[in-house]
Symmetry: C2
């Protein structure tokens, strides 16, 4: 990774804005925070921007209260000589922070997405990095900065969340080598993992109980379905975002090839998510209903009641599974 | 880690028995398999022993079919010049494989438990290692052996299971550095993680639905309880071992300090498990019912019905929580 241009841009700027992407995740938050702490330690004026508030999960990170939300800035009176977008594959991902970006003297794009559009004056893009956090770690090292304990916590949050705790296929030897360096800064791995991966609301736990009780098995165990309704959401008190990941309880059953989650909504539509393991192309299935996604993870929206949606999906999936075996 | 004695014992032996501990886990299985593959590659005659069959989760590992069970050997006619116990803190952990160990010409003990009893002729004990797998990796490197892909898979299974996928407090920089080396051997991290951590039986999933539906919250969300009965076990078809880990769904609720799981049994006893987060010493609670454990994870058995057990526990826990705040 050649950081020369980015480092010299940072060197010559007195004041630097860092932007995290919309619907912020651990990588964009942790990476921006670590770079922010590094810049301040290096005597720079720096500011953090994001369209949305820091998600509760990441509020334990040092300095997370420094993120500024729309309404707290006036880009006309506050132009930055240097703006760095972090973990943003395109300019859409900046959301309302575009107003800061567009008035920058110079722009930098630090990202690891293969789809990155190289939209800035200086583009530091490494699609072999599992997380922007890996790149920020390397950047700080090359700048001669010290990664202290709070920075290591932020970078650990970045790297571990983007790799599913070192379990996704984007995890590389380099990911683990960087994790080794971060652990060397004395971070409390057990507490961090409890915060990042093992904390759920009561509402989410109640919803999970309800959703799991809807489990149905089809085709000799090769298909498992779950569903959630508006009633279940209301009764449990769970947030819509908390349905995320529940489909995995269907997919993780040993005999299952395709896991399906139906989310029936009051407006007469059903959001359908698919996960497959080895041989069913669920993106083709989703596309046939006007949706899309990847071969092993896809989704679509179907008109009608829950029962109608189930029937439509199964009528198309069953013959597909016969063919694709 | 000074491996000199172990390496010279291996060098001078023509035939070597490796023993994994009773109730085998990923570390004892993966470590023994990797060492077995190394010894064979080095031209040694080697054999693998364990009192119990390889758990289904680990049967995908190369050579796992080589493990021999009691009844397949006669220690009188098959004495080994060298026997190596792997991941066994004391001789009890060898179970029936003791008969092989006791007739050995020489014995080696390779382990990472702090409680290790140094019972062998040569004891290679490193309690800073998160897993025996870390030690075996180092041993093979020092022996000048090549860790190939199947050996890396076995060692990854060993290290990742003993560290809760790099999340427990035993995880060190060295753990991640070794993981980096293993990933460098081209192992498929995503598939391995799916097999090791994300595969459950239909029975377990059904039982989880039932157990979560028993969720009760006490003391403004600071206590969460779950239970399982014999009826639920029968109806779900789950194995007794599959109740393991379900208590975490209680502990992981954000407001919860103490998670409790009751397993009421037909014999009129209730097995009670406790997990706490920050300030309740659940081992003291468990001890007051004749049980034991650690400060944050403990258990006991109580006489009576489920309702009686719940009442007894809550009657003692509530005042404890008042005091310990």
């Amino acid at each position: 990774m050649d950081c020369t241009e980015v480092l010299s841009a940072i060197d010559s700027a007195t004041s630097i804005a860092l932007i995290s992407h919309i619907m912020p995740d651990g990588d964009t938050m942790g990476s921006a925070l670590a770079l922010y702490m590094h810049l301040r330690a290096a005597g720079k004026e720096a500011a953090l921007f994001c369209e949305q508030p820091v998600p509760p999960t990441y509020r334990f990170l040092s300095m997370s209260e420094a993120f500024r939300l729309p309404g707290t800035w006036d880009p006309e009176t506050e132009p930055y000589p240097l703006v760095i977008a972090i973990d943003c594959s395109d300019l859409e991902r900046l959301g309302d922070c575009r107003s800061i970006y567009d008035r920058a003297g110079r722009t930098v794009n630090i990202d690891h997405h293969i789809s990155n559009e190289r939209y800035a004056d200086i583009n530091l893009v490494d699609d072999t990095a599992a997380a922007a956090g890996e790149m920020i770690f390397t950047l700080i090292q090359k700048a001669g900065g010290t990664v202290d304990n709070p920075m290591a916590e932020a970078l650990y949050a970045a790297v571990s969340t983007d790799t599913g705790n070192f379990s996704y296929s984007n995890t590389t030897p380099s990911t683990h080598r960087i994790a080794a360096e971060l652990l060397g800064r004395g971070i409390d791995v057990y507490s961090l993992n409890n915060i990042l991966f093992r904390t759920h609301s009561l509402g989410r736990t109640r919803l999970l109980a309800m959703v799991l009780s809807t489990l149905e098995i089809h085709r000799e165990g090769s298909i498992a379905t779950l569903f959630a309704t508006d009633d279940m959401m209301r009764q449990s008190g769970a947030d819509e975002s908390e349905t995320e990941g529940m489909i995995n309880f269907a997919r993780e059953i040993d005999t299952v090839e395709v896991g399906i989650m139906f989310r029936s909504r009051g407006d007469g539509t059903v959001k359908v998510s698919f996960r497959s393991k080895e041989y069913v192309d669920v993106s083709a299935l989703a596309q046939s209903f006007g949706g899309g996604g990847h071969t092993r993870a896809a989704g679509c929206t179907v008109q009608g009641s829950l029962e109608e949606a189930k029937k439509q999906i199964m009528d198309r999936l069953l013959p597909m599974m016969e063919r694709s075996r």
